[in-house]
């Protein structure tokens, strides 16, 4: 469609845009262009000579500019008010200082003509100056009578109109500019109209004018001011009607960026038959006169459309809208667009566009990036359209669009033009290159994200496809150790996550560890409380591991064994960053969890060796000695008092030495010591206990220690010879002794558990003697019968307890021999 190439020719550089003001390019007097780059300066640029002629230094950041109709006065709106500058001052007094650089003018408060806070937009209609300000609760449009005679006279306030804010909470609105334009009926006789058709003044087709603004406005031939507000409302005010007020014409529901009028295809030339308003996010509304008599009351027709946004700035010529999205400059032909929304076709197509309110206008890219302000296009006699634009980097450039006629293809250009066109093409290439490099970085980052997502997919496949018992390629090991912090001992676990898979765990992964007691004391209500820890980590290559440390239990806490469940969490939010992932994903789907292995910390892991709670004999402190003596006395006394109850509980486990030897490779010399050492240091359940060196009592097979509930325990291992079917058999007996039932039970369970896993590892070649098993079963049956009897007779709870305890003891004491 757009055959030729569009040429951007840089004219001047103004430096980076300021933040406080509004970037503007406005047509000035004659060939002058006023440029504001968002700071306090207004630059006056002459287009033909391409030179900077003057710089105005305003007292505050510039918001808007307007030139009076006789082109004598320039009005500049800053935050605090409107200043007026005589255009003559900007013209160098004589021709000689054209070479001496631009005139610099400092504008002071002397030039203030209207005090108004937060002026957002300016418009000059005839001798009336209009300002649009935002107050706390409303938008107010204020009319001032300008003084033609001298610049320093203040303007008389004529009237003020206000429109309440829709939602006062929207703060971002203050920054975006409002749009003020003036439309007047096209049949106004030339004598009364000194209004020059320009960027913000449009003659409108009389019928459309009447339809939009009513008979009264049409009758008084009043200019009508249109305001596009940042809240999306399009409101209008007829200027010359007594008692008129601001009324709403339409609402775009997004900040209005541009209001223009299209003049093409109208019989009476020079009158626009269609108004267009563009919203920030690309919504457009085209307002035209409805088909004559097609509707009952013949109202104006509002056609909604949509262009790809965001719209940074826009301008339009007779039929085309040019707008910048910041990254590209686009043009939309309102009349020849394929969707034909603005066309005057009646019937089906009309119905179609009405039923589909967001008809998409198809823009054509012009390949110019970073445009933040546009000047009204000028059209040369040859049909060449020229746009003045200001880029984000503060570059003023003239963009020439190719001639629209079809037959310009092979026209030969004079050699002088060739050079220029080469320059044009070069600068166009520069622009394209800039855009390409931006796109490249985006593509690169997208690729990276895809690569990483692939890794994530692989890992989740690996982890989710294994059964329970397979060892997973990503797993955790644990290492527990007692540590003391702030005089409080606690059992800490160092959890090591190992990545044995060939894939990398990239960012976005989190290791989640849940610590949960397997059982818990009855007084806690029977519900084990779990604690959850999560450790985000970034980047774990194949073969690498990461260590995290977490508390498992505190001193005095007897709720062992504790299961430590490890799982990997993956969050897309963390992976993509908030802004990318927020829109399409809800929080549920953006995160998933892959279970890893489960670790168990049991009593043996938590056993502390050597430091008995009872004072050691070597203590030389007499007070300690006395204390020790007293406490041991008390213990004994209590023990004596309760003669029926044994002082210590114990449990035994017997394993054949042969088995141990085979499985553990223990030396025959001191198998008992080695057995204890093995029991205490074996990494059972994926957890190892870190011990500094196991001290046994001088080569004897006794290890003393304290359980986590501070009860003293004694572990003994000795060789026992027993007769098994007349066959002497050497067995190892491990005995657990403690005054705490809990400790005995827990340790017994832990020892059994270890030996069990050992047996499983050793294989099924060995058998447990059947007779022994039968004996044990019989005994168990007897005990069960006793318990059953007791419960059916209905003994008191105290008796029941003792009974149960006895049964437990007996079961433990008659140890099963493991071969």
């Amino acid at each position: 469609m757009m055959e030729g190439r569009c040429a951007a020719e840089p004219w001047a550089e103004f430096g980076l845009l300021g933040k406080s003001g509004t970037p503007l390019v406005k047509c000035g007097t004659g060939t002058d262009v006023f440029i504001c780059i968002g700071g306090e300066e207004v630059y006056v640029f002459t287009a033909p000579e391409k030179t900077l002629r003057a710089v105005l230094q305003m007292p505050a950041a510039v918001r808007d500019l307007a030139v009076s109709h006789d082109e004598q006065l320039l009005f500049v709106a800053c935050w605090s008010g409107v200043y007026c500058v005589k255009v003559q001052l900007l013209v160098p007094s004589s021709s000689h200082d054209t070479g001496s650089g631009p005139t610099e003018l400092k504008i002071s408060t002397e030039c203030l003509v209207a005090v108004a806070d937060r002026v957002s937009s300016l418009l000059v209609v005839g001798s009336v100056l209009l300002t649009l300000c935002r107050t706390d609760s409303s938008w107010s449009l204020t009319l001032y009578q300008t003084q033609q005679a001298s610049q320093s006279d203040p303007c008389d306030l004529l009237a003020s109109f206000s429109l309440p804010l829709v939602s006062p909470s929207v703060q971002g609105d203050t920054e975006s500019r409002c749009v003020l334009v003036c439309v007047y009926p096209g049949d106004v006789s030339p004598a009364s109209s000194r209004l020059r058709p320009s960027l913000s003044h449009f003659p409108l087709q009389p019928l459309l004018f009447r339809l939009l603004f009513g008979a009264e406005a049409a009758l008084s031939k009043s200019p009508v001011v249109l305001c596009g507000l940042p809240d999306g409302r399009l409101s209008f005010l007829p200027l010359r009607i007594p008692g008129s007020r601001l009324r709403i014409l339409h609402s775009l529901e997004q900040p209005v960026v541009f209001i223009g009028a299209s003049a093409v295809m109208e019989a009476n030339a020079g009158c626009a038959g269609c108004l267009i308003a563009l919203g920030k996010q690309g919504r457009a509304v085209l307002i035209g006169a409805g088909g004559a008599g097609s509707e009952g009351d013949g109202g104006a027709r509002f056609t909604l459309g949509c262009v790809p946004g965001p719209v940074e700035c826009a301008c339009m010529d007779q039929s085309r809208v040019y707008y910048s999205t910041g990254s590209d400059l686009l043009t939309v032909d309102l009349w020849n667009s394929s969707s034909g929304t603005a066309g005057r076709q009646e019937g089906e197509e009309d119905e179609g566009s009405r039923s589909n309110p967001a008809a998409l206008l198809t823009p054509v890219s012009l390949n110019v990036s970073g445009v933040t302000a546009l000047h009204q296009p000028t059209c040369s006699s040859a049909g060449e359209v020229q746009l003045l634009s200001l880029s984000v980097r503060g570059r003023l450039q003239s963009i020439r669009l190719p001639v629209r006629t079809q037959e310009d293809g092979l026209s030969k250009r004079p050699s002088s033009q060739v050079g220029r066109s080469v320059g044009d093409i070069l600068s166009a290439i520069g622009d394209v290159c800039e855009r390409a490099s931006a796109l490249k970085t985006i593509i690169r980052s997208k690729n990276q994200i895809l690569k990483e997502l692939n890794q994530v997919m692989n890992i989740s496949f690996l982890l989710s496809n294994r059964s329970e018992f397979d060892s997973k390629p990503v797993r955790c090991r644990g290492l527990v150790r007692w540590s003391s912090l702030l005089q409080r001992d606690s059992l800490n676990m160092t959890c090591v996550l190992e990545n044995l898979s060939p894939f990398v765990l990239e960012r976005g992964w989190t290791l989640s560890v849940t610590v949960r007691p397997l059982s818990c004391p009855l007084e806690a209500g029977g519900n084990a409380s779990s604690v959850n820890y999560s450790f985000p980590f970034g980047g774990l290559g194949p073969g690498e591991s990461v260590e995290v440390s977490l508390p498992v239990a505190a001193e005095g806490d007897a709720s062992f064994p504790v299961t430590v469940t490890c799982s990997l969490l993956f969050s897309l939010w963390k992976f993509l960053g908030q802004e990318e992932a927020a829109a399409p994903l809800d929080s549920q789907r953006a995160c998933f969890s892959l279970p890893l292995n489960t670790l168990t910390v049991d009593w043996l892991h938590a056993l502390r060796l050597g430091d008995l709670p009872a004072p050691p004999r070597s203590s030389s402190n007499p007070a300690d000695l006395i204390q020790g003596f007293i406490s041991s006395r008390q213990l004994r006394c209590r023990g004596g008092g309760q003669a029926s109850r044994p002082e210590e509980y114990s449990a035994r486990v017997r394993v054949s030495s042969e088995l141990l030897r085979d499985a553990l490779g223990l030396t025959p010399g001191g198998p008992h010591v080695s057995l204890l050492e093995w029991l205490l240091s074996e990494g059972c359940g994926g957890v190892k206990a870190e011990r500094k060196g196991i001290k046994t009592d001088g080569g004897s097979s006794v290890i003393c220690g304290s359980a986590p509930n501070n009860a003293a325990v004694k572990l003994t291992a000795e060789e026992v010879n027993i007769e098994e079917k007349t066959e002497p058999l050497v067995t190892m007996e491990v005995q657990v002794k403690s005054s705490s039932v809990a400790a005995v039970c827990g340790l017994h369970h832990a020892v059994l558990h270890r030996i069990q896993t050992l047996l499983q590892k050793a294989g099924s070649s060995r058998t447990v003697p059947i007779a022994d098993l039968r004996l044990a079963l019989q005994q168990a049956e007897v005990e069960r019968g006793q318990v059953w009897e007791a419960s059916s007779v209905g003994v008191s709870s105290g008796q029941m307890q003792t009974l149960l305890l006895r049964v437990y003891q007996q079961l433990r004491d008659g140890p099963l021999l493991m071969l």
Binding site: A114, E216, L219, I241, G243, D297
Partner: protein
């Protein structure tokens, strides 16, 4: 202690510098209003800075006078910029600090309690004078915020203030003349402030009581004798006049208004009130005269802002912002005055004058300089209605061509916007809130339709005036075709009654609609009669009588047509009914164009009687 005195001196010096520069600059005319505003902002911020410095240390008796003087200066500047809340806050703070010197715990922030306590605690004469000055400013703030109750509580102290003011003023002036450096200078002479506040209080209170229906004549008349700016004196006369008008003494009220005008020629409100009185007295000549003068004064550029020269820093208008006063002082815009003048002239037979006024009005509305167009509330009718009224006036002034041009404009601007059909909800029921929008829309359509219809009707009148009967019939027919587009939902509803139902706008519209039907049918009937299509004429005139039974000329013409059809008995009966009804003169209750204009061919009742008698004997 040494440091303290030096501080005191330097602060006093700073204050005096500021105050004297302030006084000096205030004397000069500011180049513009904005500059003045800027200057005042700077002064107030300077004084406020100084005051904050002084109040940064605990209050002490030695510094009390300086502190109070600076507070006074700051508050005057704040008040001058209408920042009454800030001023009041400062005043309260000053009173609290004063009480702290005396060792009392203020405990409260209620200003009236504070000031009483402060006055009690102060012993020294000089200090007491300063406290009174501040109290005086508090008075001003109350007045500006229309808190008359608070002022009444302080009636005693106010009188004290007034009594002291004379002596104090002299004292103060003597001191400033001597120019002793350690006496702080004040930006505004307190005595002048008291005088200003006194008369303003009387005016505001007078206005309040007047709206409440009290008589305040004596107080106002006493105040009018006091020395004060002329504008304020004029206000006192004006209020006295309003008071007398309430007491049903129009002549005396007129006297007072005259005095007000004599005191201040720019007191337009007095002129307007006089016009209202003349209207009440039905003195047409005088009313028109008054409106004329009022209009010409309103056209003067500075008429809306009466200059109050005295006391540049504090303008009396700061204190005269009570609501009842501003409603008493409000004057309609120049255009509204012109419109009522024009209407008055037309209705009371001064057609050519009225036409001139209407043309002036339309020209003013079309012109580019828009004086007074942007009044917040306009009492002017809608523009098309103005055009049509002007058209009717032109028609009455035998200028049919001009009238037709105006009507053409109205038709051109409204014809595209006419609805196909207007359906009126039954006005007898209370309107349902949900369908409000619909009703409004329909009404809008109705109004536009009426405008267009009236324009056609007037054109029909024009053509019949030009004796172009065929054209007249065409235009009357267009008018009728438009009018029959209006349908009423409730058919049982009698359309004539809304005339009495004044409060409903729609009622008036309906009444106008019926009258227009009657007039257009009558016009067409008469035109048909002129071209000897008697059957159609008879039908139209009959229908016209049904639509608008009061139409006299329709009835007479109905008789005439009957007569021509040789149904002389019926004609005589018909004429008999009209003898007692002359064609009614124009009234202001309805738009001019909806009334029987004298433009149609008139059948003189005397001639008709003659006609009756002629065939009788034969």
């Amino acid at each position: 202690m040494i440091q303290s005195t030096s501080l005191l001196e330097s602060w006093t010096q700073e204050n005096n510098q500021l105050a004297s520069s302030c006084k000096q600059q205030d004397g000069q005319d500011a180049p513009n209003r904005e500059h003045n505003l800027f200057r005042q902002r700077r002064w107030s911020s300077d004084f406020h800075k100084l005051l904050r410095k002084i109040q940064g240390i605990p209050p002490h008796l030695d510094r009390a006078q300086l502190e109070l003087s600076v507070a006074y200066n700051t508050c005057v500047c704040f008040t001058a910029q209408s920042q009454f809340d800030e001023a009041e806050l400062l005043l309260t703070q000053s009173a609290q600090r004063l009480l702290q010197i005396a060792g009392d715990d203020p405990g409260t922030s209620d200003p009236s309690v504070l000031w009483r306590e402060a006055l009690k605690s102060v012993t020294g004469a000089a200090l007491r004078r300063d406290v009174l000055n501040l109290l005086c400013l508090q008075w001003g703030v109350w007045l500006a915020k229309s808190r008359l109750n608070a002022m009444q509580d302080f009636q005693e102290e106010m009188s004290l203030l007034e009594a002291q003011s004379g002596a104090v003023g002299n004292d103060c002036r003597a001191e400033t003349k001597e120019n002793i450096p350690n006496i702080p200078i004040l930006v505004l002479d307190p005595r002048r402030l008291v005088d200003l506040l006194k008369i303003c209080t009387t005016i505001v209170q007078g206005a309040e009581r007047l709206t409440e229906g009290w008589s305040v004549l004596s107080a106002l008349q006493a105040a009018s004798a006091s020395p004060a700016p002329r504008a304020l004196i004029a206000y006192t006369h004006l209020l006295s006049g309003s008071c007398l008008a309430h007491m049903n003494r129009p002549q005396m009220a007129l006297q007072c208004y005259r005095k007000a005008l004599e005191a201040d020629p720019r007191c337009v409100c007095a002129l307007y009130q006089s016009a209202l009185i003349y209207r009440r007295l039905e003195n047409l000549q005088a009313e028109i005269q008054a409106l004329r003068i009022l209009h010409s004064i309103l056209l003067l550029p500075s008429s809306t802002e009466p200059a109050m020269a005295t006391g540049r820093l504090l303008s009396p208008s700061l204190f005269l912002c009570s609501q009842s006063l501003s409603s008493l002082l409000s004057v309609p815009s120049a255009l509204s005055v012109l419109h009522s003048l024009a209407l008055k002239c037309v209705i009371h037979g001064r057609v050519s004058e009225g036409v001139e006024c209407y043309l002036d009005l339309l020209a003013a509305l079309q012109s580019e300089d828009q004086h007074g167009v942007h009044a917040a509330v306009s009492t002017l009718p809608k523009l098309p209605r103005l055009y049509l009224e002007a058209g009717a006036a032109l028609l009455m002034a035998q200028r049919p061509a001009d009238c037709m041009a105006l009507c053409d404009e109205v038709i051109g601007s409204t014809l595209d916007l006419l609805p196909d059909k207007v359906l009126l909800e039954d006005p007898g029921d209370g309107r349902v809130a949900g369908s409000r929008e619909m009703t409004e829309e329909a009404e809008n359509g109705l109004v536009r339709l009426l405008w267009t219809a009236v324009a056609y009707l007037l054109q029909g009148h024009c053509y019949s005036q030009l004796k172009d009967w065929k054209q007249a019939v065409t235009h009357y027919t267009r008018c009728i075709n438009l009018l029959v587009k209006v349908h009423c939902k409730d058919t049982g509803f009698p359309l004539q009654t809304p005339c009495t139902d004044k409060d409903a706008e729609q009622g008036v519209d309906l009444c106008v609609l019926q009258r227009l039907k009657g007039l257009s049918l009558a016009g067409r009937g008469i035109s048909f009669a002129q071209i000897d299509r008697l059957k159609e004429s008879l039908r139209d005139l009959h229908l016209s009588q049904q639509a608008h039974p009061e139409g006299v000329s329709a009835r007479r013409w109905y008789g005439e047509v009957l007569w021509r059809l040789d149904r002389k008995q019926e004609a005589a009966a018909c004429w008999e009914q009209t003898w007692s009804h002359p064609i009614p003169s124009l009234s202001e209750a309805l738009p001019v164009y909806a009334q029987e204009l004298q433009s149609l061919p008139v059948l003189d009742s005397a001639k008709l009687q003659q006609k009756l008698q002629e065939p009788g004997p034969t």
